[in-house]
């Protein structure tokens, strides 16, 4: 993992250990991942493609094309594969807010 993903591999595994990844679903069947970062901010990820609103993804992946993914994306992939995602049900309207990036960290 470290060879392929670099330093974010260990950070991602820490997030997995902390059970920081939640699979959010709504009655329509739409799903998304939410990852609680170290700073307490909640990052919303999509299930069908790689995107994360964190600065590291924007800089290292999109702009510099140096990394395949950020630690949040890697943590979501690992959690899903290992069956360690938390599950949460929300309404369709709440899912709309989550997907549009309007939802911040929950307490």
């Amino acid at each position: 993992l470290r060879f392929v993903f670099g330093s974010c591999a260990l950070q991602a595994l820490d997030l997995v250990d902390q059970r920081s990844v939640t699979c959010v679903s709504s009655p329509s069947g739409r799903k998304a991942f939410q990852v609680l970062g170290g700073s307490g901010r909640l990052y919303t990820l999509f299930t069908s493609c790689h995107y994360c609103p964190c600065p590291a993804f924007s800089f290292s992946v999109l702009r510099r094309n140096e990394s395949l993914m950020c630690k949040h994306l890697l943590a979501a992939c690992l959690s899903q594969t290992m069956g360690l995602c938390q599950q949460e049900q929300v309404s369709d309207q709440q899912m709309t807010h989550i997907l549009s990036g309007q939802t911040e960290a929950s307490t």
């Binding site: 069947g29 790689h50 995107y51 609103p53 924007s58 999109l62 899912m95 997907l99």
Partner: protein, 253 residues
């Protein structure tokens, strides 16, 4: 989307309009068009009206036009499409976003004006939404049905380049990650014929990698003609003059 564009180009090829060109049945369905509120669609293209007499914009019952002012409104409209899954009406099989560059230019606020996250967010959201709606369409149509995405993006215009704006190729490279087919329109300078605008059309797909080229002729009355570029002519067109470039990106859900 490359198959749809190929049909459209052949449909309006130079010479006699080939009325026997038929769209594949799995392409039928509803269309959602999201566009700039300041430039609403007023009428159908001239070529389309010429080929189907009596056709009016209101006749497109399967097309829903939504005009949004800001990137935030656009994102919220796309993010809410999953709510259609529970309704009896069929969700859209084609989502068109017209003028994405306008929304991105208007969204730059705060210190992170060079952030690529907004364009990546909207492109990824479109991709994910299309993937979800494809599942819905397939569940309702015994495994058939596909939701596709089409985005238009004008990468350059003379005299209006903002020095603080992100390089267009950088934005397009982000769109490349989420939308698999790019159709580039480049205006050819120095046509020599009054009232005619010539364009080069490049249709490129990422996987499998392939490029198709077409000529597009825009006549004074608004009619369009397409003609394919033959293999020998393709080599001559390797370095075209670039005056005005517009890109359309397409992704299959």
């Amino acid at each position: 989307m490359a198959d749809i564009l190929g049909v459209v180009f052949r449909r309006f090829a130079s010479g006699t309009i080939t009325s026997n060109v038929i769209f594949p049945s799995h392409l039928e369905g509803n269309t959602l068009v999201l566009g700039d509120v300041n430039t609403p669609f007023q009428s159908l293209p001239v070529s389309l009206r010429a080929s189907i007499p009596g056709l009016k914009l209101e006749s497109l019952k399967n097309a829903k036009f939504v005009y949004v002012k800001t990137l935030e409104e656009l994102v919220e409209d796309v993010a809410s499409l999953h709510e259609l899954a529970s309704e009896a009406a069929s969700p859209p099989s084609l989502i068109i976003v017209d003028g994405l560059d306008l929304y991105l230019h208007g969204s730059r606020v705060g210190p992170l004006q060079d952030d690529l996250s907004p364009v990546a967010h909207v492109a990824a959201l479109l991709h994910d939404t299309a993937a979800f709606l494809t599942q819905i369409l397939q569940n309702r149509a015994d495994g058939q049905g596909l939701c596709r995405v089409m985005v238009s993006f004008q990468s350059e215009s003379e005299g209006s380049r903002d020095s603080e704006a992100l390089a267009p190729e950088l934005l397009l490279s982000v769109l490349d990650r989420y939308l698999q087919v790019r159709c580039t329109l480049e205006e050819v300078k120095g046509n020599g014929e009054a009232g005619l605008n010539k364009w080069q059309v490049y249709l490129s797909a990422m996987c499998p990698s392939r490029v198709e080229q077409w000529h597009m002729l825009l006549q004074a009355g608004g009619a369009l003609e397409f003609s394919p570029v033959i293999e020998g002519e393709r080599q001559i067109l390797e370095q075209p003059d670039k005056c005005k470039k517009e890109n359309k990106r397409y992704g299959d859900g």
